[in-house]
C-alpha cells in the first residue's frame, strides 16, 4: 500500500455493550423470607458505578434487627428445606442455574456497572462460572451419601455468609450453591459497594420458585456482617474478604459451636524459571495480576523471575502491558476497568507510593485515565526485595512487584516467605520441576503454566493468614455438612 497510513491505522472504534438489557430500579429492599422489605430502621445507602461515579440505585441498609428477622426466616425454612430429598433440592438448583444462563447477558452488564470490571470478564469469566457452580452442586445434592463423609451427612442449619465486592455474583455462587445443595438455608450479606447482583439473584430465587426463607439477602455495611456472624442462631459462618476482618470474625466465633471457613488475603508468587514458555508466561503474568484490576485475593502479585531471563522477560512484559486497553468497562474491547471504590483507590495509591519511597522502580505504560470514576494505571515495580512493603502487603490492585531468584530452592524460599498462602504459579517447560516445586509451595492452589483458572470441581482455599477451609469441589461440601 502506497497511501499514507493514518496516525492510528487500526484504532478500534468503541464497541459498547448495551445498557438497555438491564433494568435497574431506583431503589431496592432487603430480601427476607421471600419478600423485598425495607430495613427496620428505614436506613438506605447508594450504590455507584465506579467507572462514572453515577448513582445506580438506592438500597436498604440492613441493621441488627433485620439480621435477626432474616435468621429467623432461614431457621423456619430450614426445617422443610433440609427434609426435602436431595433430588428435589437439585431441581431448584438446576432451575436457578438455567435461569442464570438465560439472564447471563443482563447479569453481566449489571455486574460491570456496579463493580467496574470489564464486560469481557463478566461475560466470559464470571457468569459462566456462576452458572457452572450451581450446576455442579446441583449434581451433588442427591449424592451426598457418596461424597466420602459417611452414609448420611446432615446439614448444619442456618449459614451466615459475608462476601466481598471483587466478584459479587461469583462469590455468592461459591457460598450459596453448596449450602443449598447440602440442605442448609442462607442469610447472605453482599458488600456495600456491590449489592445489586445479589438482589437480582434474589429475584432469580423467586423466579425459580425457591421456598420462602431458604435464601435471604441483606445488603449492608460491616455492622450487619458483624451482627450476622455473632447471631446465636447461625450455625455456620462463611466469609471471604480481608484478613483483618477475618481475624475479627475468628475471635467472635471462637468458643461457640459455629463452624467457620475463611477465605482471606493473598500475596501469590508467580515463579518464572529460565526455561519457561516465555510468551505464554507473559500472558499468565498479565492474567495473574491485571485480571479484575488485580482485585483478586489469589492474584499473582509477586513475580519471581529467574535472574538469567529477567531482562528479556521484563522487556516482553512491558511491551505486552502497552497493549492493554483501559477504559469504559462496558466496551467489549476493554481489558482494564475501574477500581471498585474511592477508598480502594486510595489504598492502592498509598501502597504504590510507599513502594517508590522504599526504592523500588515504578513503571506504567502510556495510558490515559478517564476523568471521572476510580482509575489506576497498570503498574510494575522492579528491583523489589523481600524487605519492601509492596512485596509483603496485599495491595489488591493492578500493581505487580518483580523480584528475582537464582535457584529453585531460593524461589521456593521466597515464595513461601509471606504471611499468606493462597495461590502460586510455576512456569517451566520441565514437568519434573513443576511437581518438585509445587510440592514445596505452601499455597492452596498452585497453577502450572497457567494462572487464575477456576473450575467448580476444584477446591479453593488458603494456608496461614489466607484462611482455612475449602470452597468448590467435593471438599466444598464438607464446610456445610456435619461430618
Amino acid at each position: 500500500m502506497n497511501k499514507e497510513k493514518p496516525a492510528s491505522a487500526f484504532a478500534y472504534a468503541p464497541a459498547p455493550e448495551s445498557r438497555s438489557v438491564v433494568d435497574i430500579a431506583p431503589s431496592y429492599g432487603l430480601f427476607i423470607d421471600g419478600e423485598f422489605t425495607e430495613a427496620a430502621d428505614g436506613k438506605v445507602f447508594k450504590t455507584v458505578s465506579p467507572s462514572t461515579e453515577e448513582v445506580l440505585s438506592e438500597v436498604a441498609q440492613a441493621g441488627e434487627a433485620d439480621v435477626d428477622r432474616a435468621v429467623r426466616a432461614a431457621r423456619k425454612a430450614f426445617e422443610k428445606w433440609s427434609a426435602l430429598p436431595g433430588s428435589e433440592r437439585a431441581k431448584y438448583l438446576f432451575r436457578i442455574a438455567r435461569i442464570i444462563q438465560e439472564r447471563s447477558r443482563e447479569l453481566a452488564v449489571l455486574e460491570t456497572l456496579d463493580n467496574g470490571k470489564p464486560i469481557r470478564e463478566t461475560r466470559d469469566a464470571d457468569l459462566p462460572l456462576v452458572a457452572a457452580h450451581f450446576f455442579y452442586y446441583a449434581g451433588w445434592a442427591d449424592k451426598l451419601g457418596h461424597a466420602g463423609f459417611g452414609a448420611n451427612p446432615r446439614p448444619l442449619g442456618v449459614a451466615g455468609q459475608v462476601i466481598p465486592w471483587n466478584f459479587p455474583l461469583l462469590m455468592l455462587a461459591w457460598k450459596i450453591a453448596p449450602a443449598l445443595a447440602t440442605g442448609n438455608t442462607v442469610v447472605l450479606k453482599p458488600a456495600e459497594t456491590t449489592p445489586l447482583s445479589a438482589l437480582f439473584f434474589a429475584d432469580i430465587c423467586r423466579q425459580a420458585g425457591l421456598p420462602k426463607g431458604v435464601v435471604n439477602i441483606l445488603p449492608g455495611y460491616g455492622d450487619a456482617g458483624a451482627a450476622l456472624v455473632a447471631h446465636p442462631d447461625v450455625n455456620k459462618v462463611a466469609f471471604t474478604g480481608s484478613t483483618a476482618v477475618g481475624k475479627e470474625i475468628a475471635r467472635t466465633v471462637a468458643g461457640t459451636r459455629k463452624k467457620l471457613t475463611l477465605e482471606l488475603g493473598g500475596k501469590g508468587a508467580n515463579i518464572v524459571f529460565d526455561d519457561a514458555p516465555i510468551d505464554q508466561a507473559v500472558e499468565g503474568i498479565v492474567n495473574g495480576i491485571f485480571f479484575n484490576q488485580g482485585q483478586v485475593c489469589c492474584a499473582g502479585s509477586r513475580l519471581l523471575v529467574q535472574e538469567s531471563v529477567h531482562d528479556e522477560l521484563l522487556d516482553s512484559l512491558k511491551r505486552r502491558l502497552s497493549t492493554l486497553r483501559l477504559g469504559d468497562p462496558l466496551d467489549k474491547n476493554t481489558d482494564i476497568g475501574a477500581i471498585n471504590s474511592a477508598e480502594q483507590l486510595a489504598r492502592i495509591t498509598a501502597l504504590a507510593e510507599r513502594g517508590e519511597a522504599e526504592g523500588a522502580e515504578r513503571w506504567s505504560p502510556a495510558c490515559e485515565l478517564p476523568e471521572s470514576g476510580y482509575w489506576f494505571a497498570p503498574t510494575l515495580f522492579t528491583g523489589v526485595t523481600q524487605a519492601h512493603t509492596i512485596a509483603r502487603d496485599e495491595i489488591f490492585g493492578p500493581v505487580l512487584s518483580v523480584l528475582t531468584f537464582r535457584t529453585p530452592d531460593e524461589a521456593v524460599a521466597k515464595a513461601n516467605n509471606t504471611q499468606y498462602g493462597l495461590s502460586a504459579g510455576i512456569w517451566t517447560e520441565k514437568g519434573s520441576r513443576i511437581l518438585a516445586v509445587a510440592n514445596k509451595l505452601r499455597a492452596g492452589v498452585v497453577w502450572s503454566n497457567t494462572f487464575n483458572k477456576f473450575d467448580p470441581t476444584s477446591p479453593f482455599g488458603g494456608y496461614k493468614e489466607s484462611g482455612f477451609g475449602r470452597e468448590g469441589g467435593r471438599h466444598g461440601l464438607e464446610a456445610y455438612l456435619d461430618v
Binding site: 500500500m1 502506497n2 503454566n449
Partner: protein, 319 residues
C-alpha cells in the same frame, strides 16, 4: 553444496553446522499449547465495529494473495483471476486491489499479463508444490523458470521430511539455495505446512530456521492439507518475526494461508497482527492472506457497509 549465511547478523554463527543449528533451534523458548490457543482465542473476542471495520476490510482486501492452485488451471482462468485482483469489485472502483495473484509456475506469464500495469504482484508456488518431494535441482529449476517468466514472489515449501528427521541444515541449505535462485528482485515466502509439523515447538523452530536462511515471508501452509492457517499458529509466527527483528533488525513478513474464508476470520487475524507486532506489519508488504474464497466475503461485507444492506453472491464476481 556449501552452506552460505545469507544475513550477516548477530545469529549468523548458529548455522555453522548441523549441531550448532540444532542446539540453537532447540534452545528457543518452548510453546505452551494451552496458553497459546487461549491467547489467540481471547484476541478473537475483540469487537471490531464501524470505522475500524471499514478500515480492516479494505486492509484485508489489499493483503489478499488471490490464489488458484488447481490441476485444471488454464490461462483463461488465470486471466479472470488477474482481472479480479486488479478490480475486485467492478461496481465500486474505490475498492483496493489485492496484493497479488498466486499461481503455479507455468501460469506466471499469463498472470503477469493479466495484471500488467497494476500494483498487483504475481506470486508462484515453485519448488515442487505442494509436497516438495523433488530433487533440489528440480526445485531450483522450477524457481528459475517462474522468476524468468516474471514472478515477483516465490512461495516455496520446505522439505518437511528432512525437518521432522531433524536434518535442519539440509532444510536451511535448500532455503538458502532457493533464495539465491530468486535473485535480487523476487521475494521469497517459505511455507512450513504447519499441519504436518504437528507441534507448536516445531512451528517456532521452523519459523526461525526460515528466517535465518533469508526468508522474506514465513507462511503457515499450502492450503492442501487438513489443518492450515489457524489463529494460534499465526500468532506463534508473529511472535517469531517480532523476536527475530528484535535480535537481528531484519523484518520478515507473515502469511497465513488456507481456511480463511470470512471477513470475520480475516479481521481476527488482523487483530492478532495489531496486538502482537503492531502497525509495522499492518500493510501488505508485511502481511498477506493466502486465500481464494475470502475476497468475495470481504467484498460483500464492504458493500454492506456502503449500502447498509446485504446483497448476495450474485453481486460479486465468480473467478
Amino acid at each position: 553444496m556449501p552452506t552460505t549465511a545469507p544475513a550477516a547478523h548477530a545469529l549468523s554463527d548458529v548455522t555453522a553446522s548441523d549441531s550448532t543449528l540444532r542446539r540453537f533451534l532447540h534452545g528457543l523458548p518452548g510453546v505452551d499449547a494451552v496458553g497459546l490457543e487461549a491467547r489467540a482465542a481471547s484476541l478473537g473476542t475483540r469487537s471490531i465495529k464501524t470505522t475500524a471495520k471499514a478500515y480492516a476490510i479494505d486492509l484485508a482486501i489489499s493483503m489478499v494473495d488471490l490464489t488458484t492452485l488447481e490441476g485444471a488451471d488454464t490461462p483463461g482462468k488465470v486471466r479472470a483471476l488477474g482481472a479480479k485482483a486488479v478490480h475486485p469489485d467492478p461496481t465500486d472502483r474505490s475498492t483496493p486491489a489485492t496484493a497479488a495473484v498466486c499461481v503455479y509456475p507455468d501460469m506466471v506469464a499469463a498472470a503477469k499479463e493479466a495484471v500488467a500495469g497494476s500494483s498487483v504482484k504475481v506470486a508462484s508456488v515453485a519448488t515442487a508444490f505442494p509436497a516438495g518431494r523433488a530433487p533440489l535441482e528440480v526445485k531450483l529449476a522450477d524457481v528459475r523458470e517462474a522468476v524468468a517468466a516474471g514472478a515477483d514472489e516465490i512461495d516455496m515449501v520446505i522439505d518437511r521430511g528432512a525437518f521432522l528427521a531433524g536434518r535442519y541444515l539440509k532444510v536451511y541449505d535448500e532455503i538458502v539455495a532457493v533464495k539465491e535462485a530468486c535473485g535480487a528482485d523476487a521475494r521469497l515466502k517459505v511455507i512450513f505446512e504447519t499441519g504436518e509439523l504437528s507441534t507448536y515447538d516445531n512451528i517456532r523452530r521452523a519459523s526461525w530456521l526460515g528466517m535465518l536462511a533469508g526468508a522474506d515471508f514465513i507462511k503457515t501452509s499450502t492450503g492442501k492439507v487438513a489443518v492450515n492457517a489457524t489463529p494460534a499458529n499465526t500468532l506463534l509466527m508473529l511472535e517469531a518475526v517480532r523476536d527475530f527483528r528484535a535480535q537481528t533488525g531484519v523484518q520478515v513478513g507473515v502469511k497465513p494461508a488456507g481456511g480463511i474464508r470470512t471477513s470475520k476470520d480475516a479481521i481476527k487475524f488482523l487483530v492478532l497482527v495489531n496486538e502482537t507486532v503492531g502497525e509495522d506489519w499492518l500493510d501488505n508488504h508485511w502481511f498477506r492472506f493466502g486465500a481464494s474464497s475470502l475476497l468475495n466475503d470481504l467484498l460483500m461485507q464492504r458493500q454492506r457497509l456502503a449500502t447498509g444492506r446485504y446483497s448476495g453472491p450474485d453481486y460479486v464476481t465468480v473467478d
